[in-house]
C-alpha cells in the first residue's frame, strides 16, 4: 500500500496552473474539503436524504483530477489522494526564482512548464522579488545559486566596458 502510494505520488502530473508549492498545498486542502463534503453526503444519503451533493472545485483541482484520472467516488481513494498530496507537498522539488519585477501567472506557468520538461516533471517554484536585479532571474536550487540577472551581467562586463572605452580613446 505504502509503495503503491509512493509510486502514485511520484507519477502525479501537475497541471500548468499549479506553479508553486502553495498551489500543491492548496490541492491537498481542497481534496480534504471535498472528501469531507462527499463523506457528509454519503452519511446523509444513508439516513434517507435524497439531496445529491456536487462538490465545488477550483480550476487547479479540476485540472489535476482530469490530468491524473483520479476518481473521487470512493472514500478510500479520496483518503489515499489526500495522503499522497500531503506527501507531494513536502517532497516536491522546489526552485527559488527571484525576479526584478512582479511576475504574472502566465509567465510563471511558462517557466514552470520549462522546468517540468527540462529539469523535473513535478518541479514547482517559489517566487521572490528584487528590483535591484533590473532584469533576468536569480535562481536558487537546493545547493546552488545561479545569478542570471542583468545586474550580474553588467558586473561581469565592467572590465570589458572600461577596456572598450580605453580602446575608443586610443582610436581618437
Amino acid at each position: 500500500m505504502s509503495e503503491q502510494v509512493i509510486n502514485a505520488q511520484s507519477d502525479f502530473v501537475l497541471p500548468a496552473s499549479v506553479v508553486t508549492k502553495v498551489d500543491v498545498a492548496r490541492l491537498a486542502i481542497e481534496a480534504e474539503r471535498i472528501d469531507n463534503e462527499l463523506t457528509a453526503s454519503d452519511v446523509r444519503s444513508k439516513i434517507g436524504s435524497t439531496a445529491q451533493v456536487k462538490p465545488v472545485m477550483t480550476q487547479q483541482f479540476s485540472d489535476f483530477i482530469q490530468q491524473n484520472n483520479v476518481s473521487l467516488d470512493n472514500s478510500h481513494d479520496r483518503t489515499d489522494l489526500i495522503k499522497q498530496l500531503r506527501q507531494l507537498k513536502d517532497r516536491v522539488p522546489m526552485i527559488h526564482m527571484t525576479f526584478a519585477v512582479t511576475a504574472d501567472l502566465e509567465s510563471l506557468q511558462q517557466l514552470t512548464q520549462w522546468l517540468r520538461t527540462s529539469v523535473h516533471p513535478q518541479a514547482v517554484i517559489a517566487v521572490g522579488l528584487q528590483p535591484a536585479l533590473v532584469a533576468g532571474v536569480y535562481l536558487r536550487t537546493p545547493n546552488h545559486v545561479h545569478d542570471l540577472s542583468l545586474r550580474a551581467m553588467l558586473d561581469g562586463g565592467h572590465d570589458l566596458l572600461v577596456e572598450e572605452l580605453g580602446a575608443l580613446r586610443g582610436s581618437r
Binding site: V101, E106, A135, V137, L139, T141, P142, H146
Partner: protein, 251 residues
C-alpha cells in the same frame, strides 16, 4: 382924463352950458373909466410895439457894435501880437547871441584845459613807456640767462636719463629673456602636467563612465522590462545553465 385936460373950451355960454350938460350926461364916470382903460390899453400897446421895435433895433445895433468891436479887438490884437512877436524875437535873438557867446567862451576854455590835460597824459605815457621798455629789456636779458642755464642743466639731465634708459633697457631685455626662458619652462611643465592630469582624468572618466553607463542602463531598463518580455531571455539563460540545474536537483 389927462388926455382931455388940454382941450380948448368954446366961448359960447349957453351952448357951452348945454354942451357941458350933455357932456356931463354923456361922459359919466363909467364911460370915462372905460375910455381911460381903453386909452391905457392903447398906450400900453403903443409902448409895447415901440419897445419891441426899440428892442429889435437895439439888438441889431448891439450886434453890429459887437461885430465891429470884435473886429477892432482882433485887429488890435493882431497888431499887438505882431509887435510883441517882433520884440520877443529881437529879445530872444539877443539873449541867444549872448548865450552863444558865453558857451563859445566856456567851450574854448574847456578845450584848452582838455588839451593841456592830454598833453600831460601823453608825456606821462611816454615816460611810462620808456620805463617799461627798460624793465622789459632787463627781464628779457635775465630770462635769457636763466633759460640758457636751464637748457644746459636739462641737457645734462637728458644725457643722464638716456644713460639710465639704456641701462634700464638692457635690464629689461635681460629680464624679458629670463621671463621667456621661465615661460618656456613653465609651458613645458604645464604641458606635461596637463597631459598627466588628462591621463588621470581620462582614466577616472573611463572608470566612472563604466559606472555611469551601468547606472544609466540600470535606471533606464529597470522599469522598462516587464516579465513577459524577459521570459525568452530567462528561458535562454536557463537553457544555458540547464545541466548545472539538473545536476543540482539530482543531488
Amino acid at each position: 382924463m389927462g388926455l382931455f385936460q388940454h382941450k380948448k373950451k368954446s366961448n359960447n355960454g349957453s351952448s357951452d352950458d348945454d354942451t357941458g350938460a350933455i357932456e356931463e350926461r354923456f361922459f359919466d364916470e363909467n364911460f370915462r373909466e372905460e375910455l381911460r382903460n381903453h386909452g391905457r390899453w392903447y398906450f400900453e400897446k403903443i409902448i409895447t410895439e415901440n419897445g419891441d421895435v426899440f428892442k429889435k433895433e437895439l439888438d441889431t445895433t448891439v450886434e453890429q457894435i459887437s461885430i465891429q468891436l470884435k473886429e477892432h479887438v482882433i485887429k488890435q490884437l493882431d497888431i499887438t501880437i505882431e509887435q510883441v512877436n517882433i520884440e520877443l524875437k529881437d529879445h530872444v535873438t539877443k539873449r541867444l547871441d549872448e548865450q552863444f557867446l558865453e558857451y563859445s567862451r566856456a567851450l574854448k576854455d574847456a578845450q584848452d584845459l582838455a588839451m593841456q590835460s592830454l598833453n600831460r597824459s601823453a608825456q606821462a605815457l611816454e615816460e611810462q613807456h620808456h620805463q617799461i621798455s627798460a624793465t622789459l629789456e632787463e627781464n628779457v636779458k635775465k630770462q635769457e640767462t636763466e633759460l640758457n642755464a636751464a637748457f644746459e642743466e636739462n641737457k645734462a639731465h637728458i644725457a643722464s636719463m638716456k644713460d639710465a634708459q639704456n641701462t634700464a633697457m638692457e635690464s629689461l631685455n635681460r629680464s624679458a629673456q629670463a621671463l621667456e626662458e621661465q615661460h618656456n619652462q613653465l609651458n613645458d611643465t604645464l604641458k606635461s602636467n596637463v597631459a598627466k592630469q588628462e591621463e588621470v582624468l581620462v582614466t577616472g572618466f573611463e572608470s566612472n563612465m563604466a559606472q555611469i553607463v551601468e547606472h544609466y542602463l540600470l535606471g533606464a531598463l529597470g522599469n522598462q522590462y516587464d516579465m513577459k518580455a524577459q521570459i525568452p531571455s530567462i528561458i535562454q539563460e536557463l537553457e544555458a545553465n540547464k545541466k548545472a540545474i539538473v545536476d543540482d536537483m539530482k543531488l
